[in-house]
Symmetry: C2
Subunit: 185 residues, 2 copies
């Protein structure tokens, strides 16, 4: 799975060759087909893998550290997509390639939509912990906008046209704005 | 140029073959090389072309129509990226592919950064017409966030995981939020 994420990040979905994937993973192409059945199976499982890995790097914390306030946890969850770390970069690039492939090939759409929904829901929950009196609908749209802005700015950062620190500042500021809005009666 | 935008939207930058581009445009590959010199030249000129085309479809209006209020003009400028129109779709897909290519090949970065800056500046100007008392810095970050959210949601829409009407509602709501924020003393 690691090899698949790496190859997709490097070559895109359209450039994914099973031979290259097999070589990268150090196994035979027969084994790849045995495990994943076909190309669609490789893509589906890679999407699952990068989502699981993102869940780990967005929640991993020193178990002895003091618990975070909901507001800090929210910032952390959104900013972890924007950090200069090889796994984060590779994950975001592979995610972008898988999503772009869904423009022309519909089979990944359902899985992509589900993964996006889980992320939006997680952010809505954190927003709700900071603003317990906000409505569920208000939290949901705030979470959709915040994750949308993170995705948009993350693509700018990855392609080298927006400095990372500035992207992070814009996100922190967007969180302030949404919380302020949700806090108003 | 139209053929290049079409082929890049369809195959991605990595899948762009000069032979296919020549066939699509109905000319010889020699003519393509004569005009663009090399692959980098094709990409640079295609980026220019899609930016020019976006400028046209975002500003084109019936000359006899009543002038728009600044607020309406702002909504229009941001929402025109989110419309079910073949040229808009193709432009956005090609833009996404060109931007993704800059992750690994740096030569387009400067042109991408410039195009993004022009768009952000245009939105900042429109925001400033609605909120003439806002600071330039405040207008700039609001414009960066708004264009960021449009880009993020546009990718979700294009890949079929977010309905267009909902994406548009989220953007209108984001405009409200930014204007409200800029209007406060």
């Amino acid at each position: 799975m690691e090899a698949a994420a790496r190859v997709i990040a490097r070559r895109g979905v359209r450039g994914l060759r099973v031979e290259e994937l097999a070589a990268e993973a150090g196994v035979s192409t027969a084994l790849i087909y045995y495990h994943f059945k076909d190309r669609a199976g490789i893509l589906r499982r890679t999407l699952e893998f990068i989502n699981d890995r993102a869940a780990v790097y967005t929640t991993e914390r020193d178990p002895d550290a003091a618990p975070l306030e909901p507001r800090q946890e929210l910032e952390r969850a959104l900013l972890l997509e924007l950090q200069d770390d090889e796994a984060v970069r590779e994950n975001s690039i592979a995610w972008g390639e898988l999503r772009a492939s869904a423009i022309f090939e519909p089979h990944l759409r359902e899985d992509l939509a589900k993964a996006t929904l889980i992320w939006v829901q997680e952010i809505a929950d954190l927003l709700g912990r900071v603003r317990p009196m906000a409505t569920a609908a208000g939290l949901a749209v705030a979470a959709e906008r915040l994750t949308g802005v993170v995705e948009g700015l993350s693509m700018r950062w990855l392609s080298g046209i927006l400095p990372l620190t500035h992207a992070r500042e814009l996100v922190v500021d967007a969180i302030d704005a949404e919380l302020e809005r949700l806090g108003r009666p």
